[in-house]
Amino acid sequence: MAGAKVKALQGNRGKGGKMWKAVREHRTLYLLMVPGLLYFILFRYLPMFGLVIAFKDYNIFKGIWASDWVGLENFRELIRSRDFWNVMKNTLRISFTKILISFPIPILLAILLNEIRQVRFRKVIQTCIYLPHFLSWVVIGGIMLNLFSPVFGLAGQFFKATGMEAVNIMAKKNTIFWVVIFSDIWKEAGWSTIVFLAALTQVDLNLYEAARMDGANKLEQMIHITLPAISSIVIVMLILRIGKIMNAGFEQILVLQNPITRDTIDIFDTYVYREGLGRGSYSFAATVDMFKSVIALILVGSANKISKWFGEEGIV
């Protein structure tokens, strides 16, 4: 009965009275949404309005609304700031290197793992390589600090055994960058194989059989069957990844950086964190963050559009 009524209303949604009736019919559903929507309004949308402090000189005693307007002064300061350009350079450098090196590895791993036919072995390996994904950067950073320590860690044993000069790669400007890149690979590469493995299991095994009959070797099969089968998901993942370029890994960098290495791996988020929450320059930090968010919005928006061109569902 109720269902039929709703169906009857569907046709005339445009008319005010009936529309109102349809809304009333669903009032329980609207009520269910209230707490969730309230959360979004208070904790997601309200801070967006708080971004006005980027155009103000935020004074902790005056509050957000009563603080003085300064127009674009904060943005001018931002462009003049050497830190800002350094942070920009680092963010892009880390992000691009991560895409260049860390992005292809899971694809390669997935293809190779897919070749392993021994189910038990494969399961054990999957269990091992997914593991680091579930641990926090604090834990992993703590382990790394020990492992790479020349004083009490595995690195120390290596230097002792080889007679090389002992260095702490986590406390050196020219090595910390690669520590960031490779620790990220170690933590996430295994986990990232899942999406590609899923795509690979969709491949029709008869195709391989047919190719073998035609005399194609393993490598040829890989190039002509496996790669085309996962190419669309690869493209989509790549586009989505590029959409997130402005995020170079906040928690990872925060955990791995120290005063010596800070300048080399300082990124937008760590800089905003230190400037705003550490030193209390709220307005300037919010300006930096806003700059980052706007670029990110443009990137994610375009990434989403492009991914839809490829006939895939975007993130939105």
Partner: protein, 287 residues
């Protein structure tokens, strides 16, 4: 022909070897940490590869458990994880179900409303100021409320609710069930796997919470475990410094703390792996 087959064979063996090495690289650090934490502190830690404990002892754990801050951290994290996940699940379900009903007037608007924050956010500073304004600073509730709904999880659940046949829901309504009763009696029991997946997503996120906790919580007795661990690693924790104790074994002690932090995750890891894999599929496969 014969030679070709042999070549494939070698490649296969190499492939197995490769993954064996990768597997060891992934797991050895954890093994190393556990063995280190069970070892007797010594001046010559450089002599051991820690494939097994260098002189077995539980003292490092005894020492760790004598630290009040570790206890409070552990219970704060348990509280945050349990209460946080319950709040997450209630709000996410209550939002996902209406959003999954195609006939809901204004559904498009509400969907856009919850997805937009995924694309653009006020960022760290304004969010901090808002939380401060609400008087939530220095309380675990700041973490629970400010992360009450994860948009990604919300979308996964909405997608799943959509896949439940309309006929089932219509039938329940004809039987006189209201929306709430339909949700509780029909929809939720059909979604057990998805609900388990999403609660695990939320629970791990809470257990590993570090960033926001360092921003919103200043009092060390209110810190969740990850923040305590970070401070023990940095040797900054008040409880440790003020006691005036000299550390004879900081490294072994740190490693023991890491093991304690990781242990709960390891205990549920088999479930995590299973459900998380499903979750990633649900998120990526077209709905």
């Amino acid at each position: 022909m014969n030679r070709g087959r042999k070549k494939i064979h070698t490649a296969t063996v190499l492939n197995y070897l490769l993954f064996l090495v990768i597997g060891i690289i992934m797991v050895y650090p954890f093994w190393y940490v556990v063995m280190y934490s069970l070892s007797v502190p010594s001046q010559s830690s450089l002599d051991h590869l820690y494939l097994w404990p260098a002189g077995f002892t539980l003292d490092n754990y005894r020492y760790a458990f004598s630290k009040k801050i570790l206890f409070s951290g552990f219970f704060n994290s348990v509280f945050l994880t349990v209460v946080g996940t319950v709040v997450n699940m209630i709000l996410t379900i209550m939002l996902a179900y209406p959003l999954s009903r195609e006939k809901l007037p204004g559904k498009g608007f509400f969907s856009a409303f919850v997805v937009f924050p995924m694309l653009f956010s006020g960022g760290m500073i304004p969010t901090y100021l808002v939380i401060k304004q609400f008087g939530l600073m220095d309380s675990l509730w700041s973490l629970i409320t400010s992360m009450a709904v994860n948009v990604y999880n919300l979308l996964i659940l909405t997608k799943f609710f959509k896949s439940i046949p309309d006929s089932l829901i219509e039938a329940a309504r004809i039987d006189g069930c209201g929306d709430v009763l339909t949700l509780v009696k029909i929809v939720l029991p059909l979604s057990k796997a998805s609900l388990a997946t999403i609660s695990l997503f939320y629970a791990v996120q809470h257990w590993n919470e570090f960033l926001h906790a360092t921003i919103y919580i200043n009092t060390d007795s209110k810190w969740p475990l990850q923040v305590v661990l970070r401070n023990i690693i940095d040797m900054l924790a008040n409880d440790l410094n003020n006691s005036g104790e000299v550390f004879m074994n900081p490294e072994n002690f740190k490693m023991a703390t890491i093991v304690i932090t990781v242990l709960p995750i390891m205990c549920v890891y088999p479930f995590l792996q299973k459900y998380f894999t499903q979750g990633v599929m649900m998120g990526s496969v077209k709905g």
